[in-house]
Amino acid sequence: MSSFGAELEVHIASLRRYARALLRNRADAEDLVQEALARAIARADSFQTGTNMRAWLFTILHNVHVNQVRSRASRPDEVTVESVENRLTTPARQEERVEVREMMRALDELPDEQRQVLLLVALEGLKYEEVAEMIGVPIGTVMSRLSRGREAVRAKLANGASVALRRVK
């Protein structure tokens, strides 16, 4: 097996997680990942050994996503919160349901550009500079989107959920 095997598996798992959180719909997320991988195969020559493979893959996925959003602009997603929750595989306990539901709703209501940045930073652990380069905006823009996104989520979760939130390990 090539030396990329395990590394690539790790990155693809991250891409799938990010896509799921970004779109909150399993079928759409899988479509996005598949299209991104197909693009990566076509553009494999552009990857340079020794550079950041994860950033390379995320950048491709981001570009595919932007194109999809553009072409779907006329028909917005109609996914209810309940149907999304049913797709979650977390065997959530009763006390966690509220937080999960609130976070899901908060994500739904965020503008796409804030959701992207929040998830890339908070879920995928990317550096601000990496995010800036990936989505092609100045770092100040990344910071303001992150800040607005986080505060919006905070406001949504503030209604009773924040106390329980602190118990999440």
């Binding site: 090539s2 990329f4 595989t89 652990g125 550096k127 986080r150």
Partner: protein, 314 residues
């Protein structure tokens, strides 16, 4: 007053572990005085933890035949792209390298050895830590595949991983910190094969120690990184780079890091001998000299209280 002022974006950078040096200290001081700011940071981290809880299960899912097939094809393409030619043999970098060498040669007279490093050496220790953290995220989230080889026979595990890494390595004993070794796996990094040791405590919390070839080769002191709720300490010791990773507070992880560091410095111990009081050893001469508490040493001239003082480099 003004110097004390902490900007909003610094709170984010602090929460994300992307703030370094004096500003980190300034933020910590600020948080101690400003409960509202402290709550913000706590909420940001709680958001990250909740997102992980909600979406990490995706990592455990079978990606499905389509993705698997695409992954295999991409692997093939990248491997074809990669066959690990030396950096100077790839066409594009060869041109770049020529330029660097020419410039380097031209500048040599003025700047001596200040020639640009080849791409592989630009790989930073931070990248190593990132890779180690990614591997932690991935393999601690999937209980089915968490280790490639179990720790039932720790010696066999060490041998297996040493062989992969190409250097003698071992999984330190972290039982004092409450963690036991459950196994390990070998993983590729950009600088060569690395090894991940996985530990678990009684609460089921996992930490991993990632050992691999260091990017630049010089020793460094501890660095700390926080990505979401995952904390990482990393450093270079001898010919290897280490990263210790866990969903723990900085202080908790620091304590374990010290245990790892001391154990690595001391070198591997024979594992069978744990918790054997010296009196019960029938043949003291069979014990390793650096472990034996030799009586004649105690009334020697030097008041050496520390018995793992080793003259050899380790």
């Amino acid at each position: 007053m003004e110097a004390h002022r902490v900007k909003d974006e610094e709170l984010h950078a602090y929460a994300d572990g992307q703030l370094e040096g004096t500003r980190r200290i300034a933020v910590e001081r600020h948080l101690a005085e400003d409960p509202e700011a402290a709550r913000k940071v706590e909420d940001y981290r709680a958001q990250a933890a909740l997102l992980h809880e909600m979406f990490d299960p995706v990592l455990r899912e079978d990606p499905g035949p389509e993705v698997n097939e695409l992954a295999t094809r991409l692997k093939g393409r990248l491997a074809g792209n990669d066959n690990r030619p030396a950096w100077h043999a790839r066409p594009l970098t060869r041109i770049a390298a020529t330029v660097v060498l020419v410039v380097g040669a031209a500048a040599g007279g003025y700047f001596g050895r200040g020639v640009t490093a080849p791409p592989q050496q630009r790989q930073t220790l931070q990248t190593f830590a990132n890779e180690a953290t990614q591997a932690h995220r991935f393999y601690t989230s999937d209980e089915r595949y968490q280790v490639e080889m179990g720790a039932e026979d720790p010696g066999a595990l060490d041998n297996f991983l040493s062989q992969r890494v190409g250097k003698s390595i071992f999984g330190p004993d972290l039982s004092k910190a409450g963690y036991r070794l459950i196994g390990g796996r070998s993983l590729p990094t950009d600088t060569g094969a690395g090894a991940q040791y996985m530990y678990i405590n009684d609460q089921g919390k996992r930490i991993t120690l990632f050992v691999g070839p260091p990017p630049a080769g010089k020793e460094t002191s501890f660095s700390f990184a926080q990505q979401g709720d995952i904390a990482t300490f990393y450093w270079v010791e001898g010919q290897l780079a280490y990263a210790l990773i866990g969903r723990l507070s900085k202080d908790e992880l620091m304590g374990i890091t010290k245990a790892v560091y001391d154990d690595v410095k001391a070198g591997p111990k024979p594992r069978e001998q744990h918790q054997q009081p010296p009196q019960q050893q029938p043949n003291p001469e069979e014990r390793k000299p650096d472990q034996a508490q030799q009586p004649d040493q105690q009334n020697g001239v030097q008041p050496v209280s520390d018995n793992h003082h080793k003259p050899k480099d380790s």
